[in-house]
Amino acid sequence: MTALLSTPLADQMTATFARRRLVALSVPVVIFVYLLYTFFAFDIPGLAQRARMDNAAILLSDFWSHKTHVTRNNRTGEVTVAIEGEGKGTYPPGKMPDWVSITDGITTVDLGTGHIVTYDDAGARFMVPGYGTIDIRPEGNGLALTAPEPLPKWINASDNRIAITTPAGRFSYTRSRVETFRYQAGWELFFFTLDSPFHGKSPLDLISLAVSGDRIDPARSNISAMVQDFWTNKMWRHSDVVWALFETVLMAFLGTTGAAIVALPLGFLAARNFNPLGPLRFAFRRFFDFIRGVDGLIWTIILSRAFGPGPMTGALAMAVTDAGTFGKTFSEALENIDEKQVEGIRSTGANNLQKARFGVIPQVTPVLLSQVLYYLESNTRSATVIGAIVGGGIGLLLTQAIQTQKDWEEVAYYMTLIVLMVMAMDSLSGWLRKRLIKG
């Protein structure tokens, strides 16, 4: 038997195996070396120093909780209680939350689990269970701190600023003002802001008010008042957010369909079996390549210079970029059609347009449609990014919220909405694909 296997063949096989083994080993090595190179090119060892873990902590706590600022202006003695320290979330005087009490110029803030902060004329005191009382008062040009020695790490004291961080809340004292931050779970004011009569009511109360309660505002029913107050919520701006989501989907829809409508006739001109003129075909092919090569980013910049910021610019940019892709894939689909059907139509004496309408379009529709629907889904995602550049839709709201670097709960809200929107578009396009293509 072995004699049958001629030596050259055996040698050849051995060589092939040796080469394959070499390739199989060298590919992981090359990848590893490349990753090692980027490890240093991206300065990952230095990342530990640059990373701001305190920022990460702020971000994570903001994602699921909110903080309320209790601030006293030390010059005027005025005390304000505001959610996230924003004017829109300020409690009106006389309607303080139950854990803040102001009597005779003494403000008491109950942070829970025995942590109590008191502001009075002399200064401020912070009672921490298991540690003692921290007393701060202004003295000369600085601040005087009286607290059990030695000072723990969570008290950060300098001449003009004292900061205390406890699990129950944070506290800071400067000459101009004293502030206490209390953290609570949930996104406060998500449904109703403080100026709404429905704020602070339990869901059951709200249902009973909506169904049978007396009208709080005699001019309108409770339900419409609730909807109105929710819709015009100044903190979370629900109406703006819904509008932005709609705008994003609109951009994706207009961009995708616009690209498909433009690319269909061009696809015919670039397909070998419909356009016998070689040079023209070549020109169209290179035109599609050019459009795709220029890239969405550059189109977006050029178009926003001409049309200004807004959703139409985004839709046009998407339409232009995708027209190149669609032109290419459509012409490929047209080249792969079954010629027999076209011949059948031709035998009835149909002209070119009729041949295309009855012989070609029914064949390629499923392919083209599934392509378009796939892009509709992926463009919903791109519309978020493009929206951030052209200034439209949810992408704009998201980048604005991130740039303020403090409204992280809004960032979390927008992120959730974007993910839900993309998933909804994903299932919608999947459902349409099934309905339209499989009949």
């Binding site: 991206f42 990342l47 951009m251 090569g293 200004g308 994903d426």
Partner: protein
């Protein structure tokens, strides 16, 4: 006999009428749907036009203004353009590196996720839905969201972009990989099971050699997409050639030579990657690996 013939022709006439009626109705529905669709489209464009800062018809004549302005300035400074190319080469390489590393890491994650969520191959068949939903979620998160949040924590640099793109890539590729793996021949896997191979060995020796050409082809396509994404992320966030482009654009007139240099670099790179990956994908899918 005559009776039967008459009723037959009557039947034929009836069914012809019914058929024509159906065709007419179908056409009418199709027409109505088309009209609704066109109306939808038109009102959508009008709405988008209204919300835009500049209108469509006002902007159309200005379309060529910016490119011609840029090109004329760059033409005056054409002597410095080669220097500009060299100046921006490092950031171009950074952009490419971001895309490549993200594709590699995302691809590796996608391999694991896809094998764990493919029927017949999964390590824990009960957890298939969990891994599928995980991929759906990764795919649904736009890169920009993660990138911007990570920039805040990591203080800039390319890592934020890499993580963002890699995460999205793992979801997108995972779905495609899993579709390929579903069609893999299970006989090699059975053979390996019979000799007592572990799950990892079965996948590595029985499945991956079968699906590798298709997977690599999808991976190349992803790399192309990721280069574009990495440039855009640079523009919106930080790092790479996108960031340089933003700086040059913000400066405006006087730095248009930089804008042109960046445009050209990006264009050539994307064009080249497009061509090369097209070529290799054709070869891979045709099975011509050697």
């Amino acid at each position: 006999m005559a009776d039967i013939a008459a009723s037959a022709s009557q039947n034929a006439a009836q069914s012809r009428d019914a058929y024509l009626d159906m065709v007419r109705r179908k056409r009418m529905y199709g027409g109505i749907l088309l009209v609704i669709f066109v109306a939808f489209l038109a009102s959508g464009w009008i709405l988008a036009d209204d919300r835009n800062a500049g209108g469509f018809w006002n902007g159309l004549p200005k379309l060529a203004e910016f490119p011609s302005e840029v090109i004329s300035e760059a033409w005056e400074k054409r002597a410095v353009l080669p220097g500009r190319f060299i100046e921006f080469l490092p950031s171009l390489i950074e952009t490419l590196n971001i895309a490549a590393v993200a594709t590699l890491i995302g691809g590796m994650m996608a391999i694991v996720l896809s094998l764990l969520s493919t029927r017949g191959l999964a390590r824990w068949p009960r957890l298939i839905p969990v891994f599928r939903r995980m991929m759906d979620a990764f795919r649904a998160i736009p890169e920009i969201v993660i990138a911007l949040v990570l920039i805040y924590i990591l203080g800039g640099g390319p890592v934020a972009a890499v993580v963002a793109i890699a995460l999205h890539t793992s979801g997108a590729l995972g779905k495609l990989f899993s579709e390929v793996a579903e069609n893999a021949d299970l006989k090699p896997v059975e053979g390996l099971t019979s000799v007592g191979a572990s799950w990892g060995q079965k996948m590595w020796l029985g499945v991956i050699p079968q699906v590798a050409p298709n997977w690599i082809s999808y991976g190349l396509l992803r790399f192309e997409i990721n280069v574009r994404a990495s440039a855009i992320l640079g523009f919106v966030g930080e790092g790479g050639i996108g960031h340089d482009l933003k700086l040059a654009m913000q400066w405006g007139q006087g730095r248009y030579d930089q804008v042109v240099a960046i445009f050209l670099l990006l264009f050539l790179t994307i064009f080249l990657i497009d061509r090369v990956s097209d070529h290799y994908r054709n070869r891979l899918v045709k099975g011509d690996l050697t």
